[in-house]
């Protein structure tokens, strides 16, 4: 047995060999019979709560960037001893959630405030009192603000998606500088997804509850089996009902393993595949013309000379730039888009002497370049399969493209990848149904929150692109920073992470880190503050990556000297003279954030999780649905300037960006960086595994028994060429750095591509971000880590 099968090899039976499993598995393989309808009773059975009369039970939820499953937290004699699924919630937590129980009492937990006594990163610490820690931090903050300006204090926080830690840090930073701040620009996840969604449909949507309704599910650069583990039950329900599953990913992921079809493109070429599909759908007239004419701007006219939409302001002085024109087939004239009776979908026309053409015709012209041979050549995927996929997609309604915060949009032209997916869904009318559309991961920002983070108006003095943190700190752009206040975030999550670490160590006079564990960021801090665990404080999980309001109750006092983020900021505020801005309890802050919804901490405690669509007060759209599924774009509008899906985006046109989808080669490829490619001929993609959410859970002993160390996946042929065998320690390197890890050699990855898991801390030596491209997408400053070239060699 090899690693990961059985961590206790001493107790593994030699009788159970892989050979016998293979034999057995083959015997099972031929006997597949599907039945439906049995799972409903299972759900009922699962709803039975545990009976443990001695335990007090509290409500909570898991709060990193995951699905936020609700928990019952069982407390016995003042100690948290047990976690169980909340029978009032529709999901069951995954192993990451359960591991919190061990993490709570982990020997690795930060127990006390510490100050650095050795060199930065040397690991020499002295335990100090909270008073000394808070006094020191307050003093350093005040010094920086008074001498250099509040903008020289950089506040950074990780993706904790419950409300309190972020709101409290935000409020503290805002009041501290009276609004003066250094802002972040873009991010390390889904900016391309968010930007293209905003540009084309108005906002971000998630179909995460509706997987089971699709007839076809294309998981594109996405691995829901590990990143939406609790929602897999709906995928499985769909599969039982006959839903077909296609995975497009250079890696044979856990989701690919469940799929009917696995297509493995070259990283960064996904848009070319989508363009090929668009061409097939247009050429073979597989599109939904009624939908396109009525709910998209594909019939809108574009002025040939400028490439811009024809607007009323182009034709009449004082005309409304939000009125667009379409060609009316009845009158053979250009008519306002709001007034047309029989619009033309395609064609070239003349309006007031201007040559114009419909958006659809221009899209068709772009797509025409992506014939089977071209798409095959660009993507490395058999173009005939892409043709078949396009036909199946157009014939299967509802069909969902599940992209999540896809790895395929974490590339140089990520926005256009997402645009290609929305275009596919718009062509086929895959909107307004359950199980259709393009699945993002967002419920965030759709609830009417009350902002408690910025009592002062924001006054941004400079900004730092999220992907460029290392470069900006190293080059002291936009100005030298004096203090970095770093809360609950892995240092190794930033691309080019070695440079981030080096810049922090050498260029930042004072670093304070607040966390549960001695993270790779805490390791280089001057003061480390032990934060309370999520079950040791009050918090609110508001619709973020699911669509529920959930209370996270304080189930026990913080262990050792850990303190809640709210307590820490309140104590610092008192020392800095603005304690009056931190004059509420955690539950009072929660009630204030919720005030527009009519919900309170206490009401959520009594009711359990509340679905955001169950009352018009709970969402910004003011809509109410009696029960799931919620259908996006049935009662909710496309909030684009035209009120339609904008295949030619007004937002992008206004930003002087290419307003419509097209494929462009990514930054680090053989084609675009031939010299670099000679040195580093392998493309690196990051993988998510079910051990982590970003860098969280690294210290959970139970999880590390399953995933003891990082590894690199490499194709057999690439390994053979380099004399690498399975299990060898190898170096993965490029000009940004070198990491050292174990090789897993197989054929479950495209030749020419290697993959390392995201989330390993810098001190494991296997942190993928050391190698990651720190450029960003042009429009939205999203990261491009999957446009990275590397080489692999035997260590």
């Amino acid at each position: 047995m090899s690693e990961g099968h059985l961590t206790n090899t001493k107790t593994a039976s030699p009788n159970l060999t892989r050979r016998s499993f293979l034999k057995w598995s083959a015997a099972l393989g031929g006997a597949a019979v599907l039945t439906g309808g049995l799972k409903a009773s299972l759900v009922t059975a699962g709803k039975k709560a545990m009976s443990a009369p001695l335990d007090q039970v509290f409500r909570s939820a898991n709060n990193p960037e995951c699905n936020h499953c609700a928990f019952q937290v069982h407390v016995r004699d003042g100690r948290i001893v047990r976690l169980a699924p909340d029978p009032d919630f529709y999901l069951r937590p995954c192993l990451r959630g359960y591991s919190r129980l061990q993490g709570l009492y982990s020997t690795a937990r930060l127990k006390y405030p510490f100050k650095r006594v050795g060199e930065r990163g040397e690991g020499k610490w002295e335990r100090i009192s909270w008073d000394e820690a808070l006094d020191t931090v307050a003093e350093k903050l005040a010094e920086a603000r008074d001498e250099f300006g509040a903008e020289t204090v950089l506040f950074q926080r990780g993706a904790v998606l419950s409300q309190m830690p972020g709101a409290m840090m935000g409020r503290f930073a805002n009041v501290f500088g009276k609004g003066v701040t250094t802002a972040g620009k873009g991010g390390l996840c889904c900016n391309a997804m968010g930007e293209a969604s905003t540009a084309m449909i108005g906002y971000r949507v998630s179909e995460i509850e509706n997987f089971a309704f699709s007839k076809l599910h294309i998981s594109w650069g996405h691995n829901p089996a590990v990143s939406y583990t609790p929602h897999w039950r709906y995928m499985a329900n769909g599969i039982e009902k006959g839903m077909r599953l296609v995975t497009i990913d250079p890696r044979f992921s856990e989701t690919a393993a469940k799929s009917d079809v696995w297509l493995a493109p070259r990283p960064g070429t996904d848009t070319a595949i989508a363009m090929g599909m668009i061409k097939v759908i247009i050429d073979e007239k597989l599109y939904d013309e009624t939908f396109m004419l009525n709910r998209t701007n594909m019939p809108f006219l574009v002025v040939e000379s400028t490439g811009k939409l024809l607007r009323e302001s182009d034709l009449v002085a004082e005309g409304d730039p939000a009125i667009f024109y379409v060609w009316d087939l009845a009158t053979k004239t250009a008519v306002k888009h709001t007034e047309v009776a029989s619009p033309a979908l395609s064609g070239s026309f003349e309006v007031n002497g201007l040559a114009v053409r419909t958006v659809f015709s221009r899209l068709a012209e772009r797509a025409a370049r992506y014939d089977v041979a071209t798409v095959s050549e660009i993507s490395g995927v058999d173009g005939n399969k892409i043709v078949l996929l396009a036909r199946e997609y157009a014939a299967s309604k509802p069909a969902m493209i599940n992209s999540g915060m896809s790895g395929a949009q974490r590339t140089t032209h990520g926005e256009y990848f997402v645009a290609s997916l929305i275009t596919l869904a718009a062509l086929t009318g895959n909107y307004g149904m359950a199980g259709a559309g393009v699945n993002d991961t967002a419920g965030v920002s759709h609830w009417p929150s009350t902002n408690i983070s910025s009592p002062f108006e924001s006054d941004v003095k400079g900004s730092i692109p999220a992907t460029k943190l290392g470069e900006y700190l190293w080059e002291q752009k936009p100005y030298p920073l004096q203090v970095v206040y770093w809360q609950g975030k892995g240092l190794g999550q930033s691309p080019n992470s070695s440079l981030v670490r080096k810049a922090m160590i050498e260029k930042i006079p004072f670093i304070v880190v607040q966390d549960n564990f001695m993270t790779d960021a805490a390791q280089i801090a001057d003061i480390v503050l032990p934060a309370a665990h999520l079950f040791e404080r009050y918090d609110l999980m508001a619709p973020s990556r699911n669509f529920h309001f959930q209370i996270m109750d304080k189930a026990a006092e913080p262990l050792w000297e850990a303190r809640s983020d709210t307590w820490i900021y309140t104590e610092l505020a008192k020392r800095l003279g603005f304690g009056d801005q931190f004059n509420k309890t955690e539950e009072e802050w929660i009630d204030e954030m919720l005030v527009k919804t009519g919900l309170t901490a206490q009401s959520l405690r009594e009711s359990g999780p509340v679905w955001m669509w169950s009352d018009a007060k709970y969402n910004k759209f003011g809509v109410k649905w009696d029960k799931p599924p919620f259908y996006w774009f049935k009662d909710t509008p496309f909030t684009t300037p035209s009120g339609r899906i904008e295949i030619h985006s007004v937002r992008w046109e206004d930003k002087e960006e290419d307003p419509m989808v097209d494929y462009k080669a990514a930054e680090e490829t053989a084609e675009t960086a031939p010299e670099l490619y000679k040195k580093y001929p392998l493309a690196l993609v990051n993988a998510k595994i079910n051990a982590f959410v970003h860098s969280t859970y690294q210290q959970m002993a139970w999880i590390r028994e399953i995933f003891p160390q990082p590894w690199v996946d490499i194709h057999e042929e690439d390994a053979t060429e380099r004399g690498i065998e399975a299990g060898d320690m190898v170096e993965v390197l490029n000009d940004r750095g070198t990491i050292k890890l174990k090789a897993r050699v197989h054929q479950g990855i495209r030749k020419g591509v290697v993959s390392v898991q995201n989330g390993w801390w810098l001190d494991t030596g296997g942190n993928a971000s050391v190698l990651s491209n720190d450029s960003h997408t042009k429009i939205s400053f999203g990261h491009t880590l999957n446009s990275t070239l590397v080489e692999v060699r035997k260590a």
Binding site: G4, H5, L6, T7, N8, T11, S13, N15, L16, F21, L22, S25, A26, L28, G30, A31, A32, V33, L34, T35, L38, L42, G46, M50, S51, A52, C69, V81, P93, C94, L95, Y98, S99, L101, Q102, Y105, S106, T107, T229, W232, R233, A236, F252, E254, A257, S259, D260, V261, K385, L388, L389, R391, E392, E705, I706, F707, R744, H746, Q747, G748
Partner: protein, 227 residues
Amino acid sequence: MMANKRLGLVIDLDRCIGCWTCATACKAENGVALGNWWNRILNVEGAATGSPGMVAGEVKMTNLPVQCMHCENAPCVKACPVGATYKREDGIVMQDYNKCIGCRMCMAACPYGAKVFNWGEPQTGVSLAGVKLGNPAVPERPRHVAEKCTFCVERVDQGELPACVAACPALTRTFGDLNDPNSEVSILIRERNGSQLLPEFGTDPNIYYLPARRHHPIVEKTPSYGG
């Protein structure tokens, strides 16, 4: 007279994504020590968790959760020289930790590698002395005893489901009476061609697996492509 119950578990490999939640929930519920798993997920084709392997030229990664099979014809019960391993009337195979002498004969006898051994004082990875995680009714095990999945007998006796069944996020697991032809488990086994692991050993396990569905590649003749 009604026949005895035969408590059993059906695991649907079509739904299982190998996430290890069952295994982790088991660890939490039963206070299983670091280094030991009563319940674990094997990867049939690949070399490790999350690694694909090849079968007949095809890339595959099939998850196989394995725990005590609560065999009708349990080799561990026969192998135990002191009667510490025994079978309850409802089919659950149990371990009496007071009787166990740590000889590990049961472990050698089990073809599923389902039993684990406490080589030292069990360490749970919890730094606060006196905090016992999980179900308070589950007895603590000393060093030098063998232990394994009990189908969460303490829960089952209260009419609850085993922790792994209640925890599985993908609803992969169904628990019930195999002797009742109308139980969900019996129906699933019948309708979905459930099978036992390593039947050639003659152990007659009370855990059944439902096969993973066959995949349908993109080919021109697939009717749903409209061609």
